[in-house]
Amino acid sequence: MPSTYLDPPRDVLIIGAGPTGAVAAKRFAEAGMRIVVLEQGDWPDYSKARADHPDFELTTGRNWSGNPNRRQAPSDYPIDDAQSDISAVLYNAVGGGTVIYAAHWQRNMPSDFRVRTLDGIADDWPLTYEELEPYYERVEIDFGVSGLAGDTAFPPGKDLPLPPAPLGPMGRIVARAHNRMGWHWWPAPNAIATRAYRNLNACTQRAACMWGCVERAKGSVDHTHWPELVKMGVRLITGARVRRLSVNGQGLVTGAVYVDRDGIEHSQNAAVTVLGANGIGTPRILLLSGGAKFPDGLANSSGLVGRRLMMHPFGTVVGLFDENLGSSHGVWGQHIHSLQFYESDPARGFLRGAKWGLQPTGGPLSMTRSYPWGDNPIWGPSFHTQLRKRLDHSAMWGIICEDLPEANNRVILDSNLTDSDGIPAPKLLYRMSENSRKLLQFHLERARESLEAAGAKETVIAPLIRETGWHLLGTAKMGTDPKTSVVDAWGRCHDVPNLYIFDGSIWPTSSGMNPTATIAAMALRCAEHLVEERKNQKVPG
């Protein structure tokens, strides 16, 4: 038996079957390329989705936790987060994070691509909103995005493929308040099918998007992309954990070495390799792949691989209302969003901003938990009155704060911890910056005012919880100068011309938006460029 199996070579090897891998694979497959995808996870098991059972709320944390350290599934790698203010949450499966994402579908705003020019800090992106717009439009069709054109926080654009989710009583009451205050709001965009669409069913508003959608209504790529891609001939290998990339004497990547679930090592060769393993998985693979020749990691002559990690500190404010808002149900998902305070205003004492998404609060068990309710007591004699005050009578703003890039916020390899295959685990070094703290505080206060203006009798600012690092960005910066960036404007590694990174690692700044819309649009733009330039692509001889 050979110690390493040689799998048949392909034109393109993609690592990771999340939205980045899915969008890229689709474009390559359309161009007739032969593709292999290595994914350490399995197809999601929706038999564990319990939204249609009475024990639903009790099972969410066990079956659908976003924290790999808690899940400890065979597909997971541990993450040492002891030196990080925020724990990373992600999902390792066909579909990646979209299996459990809330499907808030937010484009970045034009200013997000011009942070240096407009605010004098951090960096500009080597592209503009206008350049990315056609790619947003195309991925929105594939993900089945619902929403309404004409949002005043964005340049005028085309209709989305599906109408927006209902505002519901909750959205309407807050929208009316914002109109009185002159604050922005808009029916929120979500990757949630508000009508039957392609192979998605219509959403039935069970407020269960993050814990296994029983309806197959959420635009997660295990539904929207992979079944079709497999039919098109894309070779998707699950349970395949990449140990390292292989590099030849010319400094080109020849593919990857991966371990299957039986512990058997395989060598998968390809002309071009694309990383879509997210802001933690991607730098981990690069750092693992340096070998003796590149002790600091592959594609790392800039020293920036793993640095500039941005995770979007997250805040929540809940309001309690006399009115029945029906807030145990709805998309979850967001009903309305507000970008009133998104753009920088130096007078506030910090730069950049945050997006707010109005969300349901869930069923009765969720009314008793320490998040988002903090120390506000429910137990004891007031239990029944508190429960009635909260259940269906509460609305919640979720606040995504822009995090600026800092060289010392980073992903490194852990010197002790490994995954179940003995591969070094990533370790996070991350401290929330002063700017992020001030930004979060400001937005929490404004969000409280919003709910009070809407008639909330009480408001609760949720305690900051660690497990909110669901946006993993910035660890392989995109730019034009190889000295100060890892990849060029098309995701190609400056140091390794047939190695590409398409995921959120390449973001020069993080925006204050949920990132998947932009991750998907960027993956399409980068993939398309690779297809167009394939004649000139350097490949191993």
């Binding site: 249609d52 009475p54 024990d55 639903f56 709320e57 009790l58 099972t59 066990r62 705003m109 034009p110 011009r114 407009l118 503009t128 206008e130 309404l148 004409g150 005043t152 926080a153 340049p155 109408p163 927006p164 209902p166 505002l167 519901g168 959205g171 309407r172 929208a175 009316r176 914002h178 109109n179 922005h184 709001w185 808009w186 029916p187 508000t194 219509a202 959403c203 039935t204 508003q205 069970r206 407020a207 269960a208 309806e215 145990s328 149900h329 998104y342 753009e343 069923g363 009765p364 068990l365 008793t368 320490s370 137990w379 004891g380 004699p381 239990f383 029944h384 009635r388 259940l391 269906d392």
Partner: protein, 137 residues
């Protein structure tokens, strides 16, 4: 772990401190949380059993109120597990669900008639104009 009748009585007593009867609602024990409720919770969250067992050991014949106060102060994680168990078992009781008007995450098909056009809601936003910083590219 099979909790015996004595242990179940102790758990019921602790849960009653968290969820007493009142406002026309039964207490935790009246809602059967330590009987059928406990069994149903453990079926889907078996890992809770260990924590409940250690709480039982800690209780050691002392009054429920004192035990709860100590858990809250000194063992917040264990308190969290007890509270999650008590509330989950309580809300699994069909009568309780009916009384609080919650029938589960039942399907609510989306009404095709848009509710964002009511009362000129959106017009008001549009009248305020564009709010993004153009980048001029």
């Amino acid at each position: 772990m099979i909790f015996n009748a004595t242990e179940r009585t102790i758990l019921a007593g602790l849960a009653d401190v968290l969820i007493p009867a009142g406002n026309g609602m039964p207490s935790a024990s009246e809602a059967g949380i330590a009987n059928e409720g406990l069994d149903r919770v453990l079926t889907v969250r078996p890992e809770i059993a260990d924590v409940l067992e250690s709480i039982l050991q800690m209780a050691d014949g002392r009054g429920s109120e004192r035990v709860i106060a100590e858990l809250q102060t000194n063992h917040p994680d264990a308190f969290g597990v007890l509270a999650e168990f008590a509330a989950a078992a309580y809300f699994l009781n069909a009568e309780v669900r009916k009384a609080i008007g919650y029938q589960g995450q039942t399907p609510h098909p989306i009404d095709p008639n848009p509710d964002y056009l009511e009362d000129g809601l959106l017009q008001s936003v549009m009248d305020r104009g564009l709010i993004y910083r153009p980048t001029g590219d």
